[in-house]
């Protein structure tokens, strides 16, 4: 591989570890809500913490996935599942705080994922894609393991829908040569603002709009009218 055309200023390690911890806690919470056993709680904690990154690393094929290279990821998931199992009520009472943190984390994961892709010289499109996968793959895997239709594909709150424009914005800013720290902040704040606005204003993700059938219906209606006229 040729040398990277730019260097990436990674987010601080502490930020990533905090994100992993929150992901694991929210996974454990989801599992206790679903009434899963300890194995299930640990599995969902791990999947929510590292799932997106694991998919990204498997697709990137740049060696062993990050979550296996450092023991912290698995240790954090184990810790979160113990907390989730024994202190479910405490975790549940922290849900409002966790929702806020979760909203802020969308952009963090997008940045982490997109930067890993840019580091190995992938195109901007692929970097945006891997940013979105990193941010949302965990939730997708969680739903699949619970045998639910993924919330990502159903009309509802903006989550992936906030991650996608944030990822596109991030790679556009990087491409435009904006200072990387600025791009990071814009992405994180942008994703959080989009989700917060959608929640506050009650936006739902749009479903398909069938132009053809719509035109046909209008045409039929107008021809009926003209034949009567």
């Amino acid at each position: 591989m040729s040398t990277p055309v730019y260097t990436v200023v990674a987010l601080p390690y502490a930020v990533e570890m905090a994100a992993v911890t929150f992901g694991a806690l929210s996974g454990a919470l989801h599992a206790t809500r679903k009434g899963l056993d300890p194995v299930g709680v640990f599995t969902l904690a791990l999947i929510c913490a590292i799932g997106g990154g694991a998919i990204r690393d498997v697709l990137l094929q740049q060696g062993t996935p990050v979550f296996l290279r450092s023991p912290s990821y698995l240790a954090i998931a184990a810790f979160a599942s113990v907390v989730g199992l024994l202190f479910a009520r405490l975790v549940r009472s922290a849900v409002p705080v966790m929702n806020v943190v979760d909203t802020l984390l969308i952009g963090v994961w997008v940045v982490i994922g997109a930067e890993r892709a840019l580091l190995v010289d992938l195109s901007y499109v692929s970097a945006a894609f891997l940013g979105v996968i990193t941010a949302t793959g965990g939730g997708l895997l969680r739903d699949l393991l619970c045998h639910d239709v993924p919330t990502a594909v159903q009309p509802g709150e903006w989550y992936v829908a906030a991650a996608i424009p944030a990822a596109v914005a991030f790679v556009l800013l990087v491409q435009a040569g904006v200072l990387l720290e600025v791009a990071q902040v814009v992405t994180i704040v942008g994703a959080a603002a989009l989700r917060a606005a959608s929640l506050r204003l009650g936006w739902r993700t749009p479903t398909a709009y069938d132009v053809w059938s719509d035109l046909e219906a209008r045409f039929a209606a107008s021809s009926i009218r003209s034949s009567r006229g």
Partner: protein, 234 residues
């Protein structure tokens, strides 16, 4: 620059068809994934996700299994752009695409044949066994469908009794690998023949309603035959 070289090695397209056919084939799959999502009432994210899954899933699975480096789908940004465009088509024109059932059937059959030969060829090109190549070809062809169904929360359709899909891809991959290993035909011609096999099997299956069958247990029948021969022995 480095991307082009890598892409060529992994894409396994030095066959009969020009390189852009792979993009078109991915686009065909992506459109049907997007239309499927639109008709299921999924949101814009679902349409995009299922377009990516069905259009690019087969190639992603192949590259993950073969471990030949970052997938062509990520090395060449055009794949994701094609899938995004396909998602837009599915989002706004699901009704129109539905009308063109016959065209879609033909395009899907061609894409199925294309991907099973490309998948098998890339396995052979890194000296995997013919058996592995048949498997890789089949996975490349139907992996996208499986991923789409999983992400939509359904049991994968290709595993259940129904009109030949994976069976057609398997036959195509088998035909391609046999032609490649047993004859000295150029790969391009093997590819065309195998694609015709898939095309014929798939269209005949739809027209004549050939359906794959559920597993049927024959142990009772075997036991009965064996018991009869025991009785008759003395």
């Amino acid at each position: 620059m480095g991307i082009d070289v890598l892409g060529e090695a992994i894409a396994g397209i030095p066959l009969a068809l020009p390189a852009w056919t792979q993009l078109v084939a991915a686009g065909v799959g992506a459109v049907s994934g997007a239309v499927y999502a639109a008709k299921r009432g999924f949101d814009v994210v679902g349409v995009l996700l299922l377009a990516v899954a069905e259009g690019l899933g087969g190639l992603l699975l192949r590259d993950t299994l073969l471990q030949t480096g970052t997938s062509i789908v990520l090395l060449d940004g055009r794949y994701l752009l094609v899938a995004t465009a396909a998602a837009a088509v599915g989002f706004f024109f699901a009704g129109l695409v539905d009308r063109l059932e016959g065209v879609i059937l033909v395009l899907d059959a061609l894409a199925l044949g294309f991907f099973c030969t490309v998948g098998a060829d890339s396995a052979l090109s890194i000296s995997l066994s013919p058996v592995a190549a048949v498997f890789t070809g089949t996975v490349t062809a139907v992996g996208g469908l499986v991923l789409r169904d999983l992400l939509a929360g359904d049991a994968p359709r290709v595993l259940r009794p129904g009109v030949f899909t994976a069976a057609a891809a398997f036959l195509g991959a088998l035909a391609f690998v046999m032609l490649e290993t047993l004859t000295s035909l150029p790969s391009g011609q093997s590819q065309i023949i195998a694609m015709l096999v898939v095309f014929a099997v798939r269209l005949l299956a739809v027209r004549l309603e050939w359906r794959t069958r559920a597993a049927s247990d024959i142990s009772d029948r075997v036991w009965a035959v064996w018991a009869r021969s025991e009785d008759g022995a003395p």
